[in-house]
Amino acid sequence: METVADLKNRLAAVHYVADDTLATALQLALTLKRPLLLEGEAGVGKTEIAKALAGILDTRLIRLQCYEGLDANAAIYEWNYQRQLLAIKASEHEQIGAAEIEKHIFSEDYLLRRPLLEAISQDKAPVLLIDEIDRADEEFEAYLLEILSDFQITIPELGTVAAKTVPHVILTSNGTRELSDALRRRCLYAYVEFPDPERELAIILSHLPDIEETLAVQVARFVRELRKEDLDKAPGIAETLDWAAALTGLGVRALEHDLETVQSSLICLLKTEADSRSVTKEVTSRLVGQAA
């Protein structure tokens, strides 16, 4: 069993800065081979974790984006009807029985693999990211539960497809809907918080190696203070990185030097009209003061 510190280092190598809690959860998910459910505010880097994991395991990332009305056809498999029709047409003039045609067009050649089927038919265990599971319907959740426990899929025309390898499953949820207890019990769980300024600094430095360190420190602190304000939408890590890149591009070396530019560049962080109105120049200069 590799240590948590090892895992953190390997994640850092693919530019993901994890804290102990998250690294422990990931390591546990890898060793116990159980799905990991990640919850947290939008923008704390839940999806990135799956990408980073695929990076360190050097394997494919297969992503299933959930949405309302997602059904088995979009998530598991679908027959390629156009090709099936063509095949039927093409074989019209050859003397082939209906049963044979049927057998032919319902073979694997005509099967479109959607993410879930794709994930269990890989030679090397992939990372399966089931993103925003809370957006899918409850019925789909129940179905997913079955797949996550058996890792086999039954296709009526073809038979049961058993998993070649068991994928590493990561589910994310933004908490727009309560998930079922059954799903929660099936999964390991971790709540992802916004990073503390030290970790956010490490993230900025890891993604933007050219940034001045003093500016990066200020950016991390400013964003932490900004998240404490009463905002509709707290800025996520991606927003922090955008802003840091924007400031570097605008030639800002320290926040307090150029409040005008800082104020106008806040559009990187504040994504609603109400938020940009509530963070006035006075608020900005107070926050800059706290960050300095």
Binding site: T24, W79, T176, R184, R185, Y189
Partner: protein, 395 residues
């Protein structure tokens, strides 16, 4: 206390871990024997001396939601290191017991054992309708129900009739759900072709799609979010409305309920709790401040800030059950209603007083709110409650 999870000899650790799982379960964690086994394996693998890693790993394994995640560390400390243990085990002695004296009378209708005594609220006027009192013994049940449906609820005072009206309110909500959910079916002639079935059924025609099979996505039911005013001015109605709301929450596929007076509380889980004694305890804790004034604006603000993101979607019908007598500022309320309106499909305001003769919505709060409301209706009788069904069905 030492800094390690105590394991003097190997056998007791299994008992201690099982005890820990019990401890979590008593604190409303959804864990069972399979978790005990998994936890034991995990501790064995990590080694019991690695306190922090054991704690973090168990946290990942045993929690399943944010609230549990937040409480786990304290519970872990309390159990393994006896911090705050006294209190934990004191609560354990009888977790579901609560003396009936502390229950506000408004909840007593929800008790299973018919503890609904003392319901004759002195403020209820006692002036029962002539139709409803009198020869109740001979009256056929059906006709009594009919009368009850039409009677203004503030005139219902006889305990039997109160119980009956509450049951009716509950059944009304359940029936509405049933009727609306019949829309949840696949139509014969849908808008889209079901290619899969079309091809299968046309293999006999050499693949020429002659018989077409259609499919349609069933209509998705609306989500209902109810805010029920339980302030003093609503006293005569709120017990019936509460049953109605309970009916909605327990029978509707997708419903969410909140009570408010000067504060706002989410009661969906409490209403849904199958253990009704536990539900009572939870509601009693929430009912603190019952019968006081109304702060509609503040309550809506709390709702918008704390719950709206999770509770509302574009299929939501937002129902407010209130008389609109507000002690807060009407402008603030209107501002919050505006915010709300952006996130929901319809806002329905049910006002019991609208059913009174000669009532005009003259309170300043109502006047401010009216332009923002999609549907403003009376709700002083059970029939008028039932009438909102059409509103819920129509999107």
């Amino acid at each position: 206390m030492t800094g390690t999870v105590q394991t003097s000899n190997p056998a007791p650790i299994a008992a201690r871990v099982a005890g820990f799982i019990d401890h979590l379960r008593l604190n409303d964690f959804a864990v069972g024997p399979s978790e005990t086994q998994a936890a034991l394996k995990l501790i064995d693998r990590i080694g019991p001396l690695e306190r922090d890693r054991v704690r973090q790993s168990l946290k990942t394994l045993l929690t399943g939601r944010h609230e549990e995640w937040e409480r786990f560390d304290d519970l872990f400390e309390a159990y393994w290191f006896a911090r705050g243990r006294e209190r934990a085990s004191a609560g354990k002695a009888n977790p579901h017991r609560r003396s009936s004296a502390t229950r506000p009378s408004i909840w007593s209708g929800q008790l299973p054992d018919g503890e609904a005594s003392g319901m004759g609220d002195p403020g209820s006027g006692g002036s029962a309708d002539d139709d409803l009192s009198g020869t109740s013994a001979e009256r056929a049940v059906a006709s009594r129900q009919n009368q009850l449906r039409k009677a203004d609820l503030r005139h219902v005072a006889d305990p039997d009739e109160i119980a009956e009206a509450e049951r009716l309110a509950y059944r009304l909500a359940a029936a509405m759900r049933y009727r609306l959910s019949r829309r949840y079916r696949i139509a014969n002639a849908g808008s889209k072709l079901d290619l899969r079935r079309t091809i299968r059924s046309n293999i006999a025609h050499g693949g020429e799609p002659i018989t077409l099979v259609h499919k349609a996505r069933p209509d998705r039911p609306v989500r209902i979010v109810v805010l029920l005013d339980v302030s003093g001015s609503m006293k005569l109605y709120s017990r019936f409305f509460l049953q109605f709301v309970k009916g909605l929450v327990c029978e509707w596929i997708d419903a969410d309920a909140y009570l408010f007076h000067t504060r706002l509380i989410r009661v969906t889980d409490a209403l849904q709790d199958r253990d009704s004694i536990k539900a009572m305890t939870r509601l009693a804790l929430m009912a603190d401040g019952f019968g006081g004034g109304t702060r509609l604006g503040d309550s809506l603000k709390v709702f918008n800030d704390r719950y709206a993101r999770r509770a509302l979607n574009s299929r939501t019908v937002f129902v407010i059950l209130s008389d609109g007598y507000d002690t807060g500022s009407p402008e603030a309320m209107a501002a919050e209603l505006k915010r709300l309106k952006k996130r929901v499909r319809r806002i329905v305001w049910l006002n019991p007083m609208l059913g009174w003769r000669d009532y005009e919505p003259v309170t300043r709060a109502m006047a401010q709110a009216l332009p923002l409301i999609d549907h403003f209706a009376a709700a002083n009788t059970l029939n008028s409650l039932g009438a909102i069904e059409d509103d819920l069905a129509r999107m």
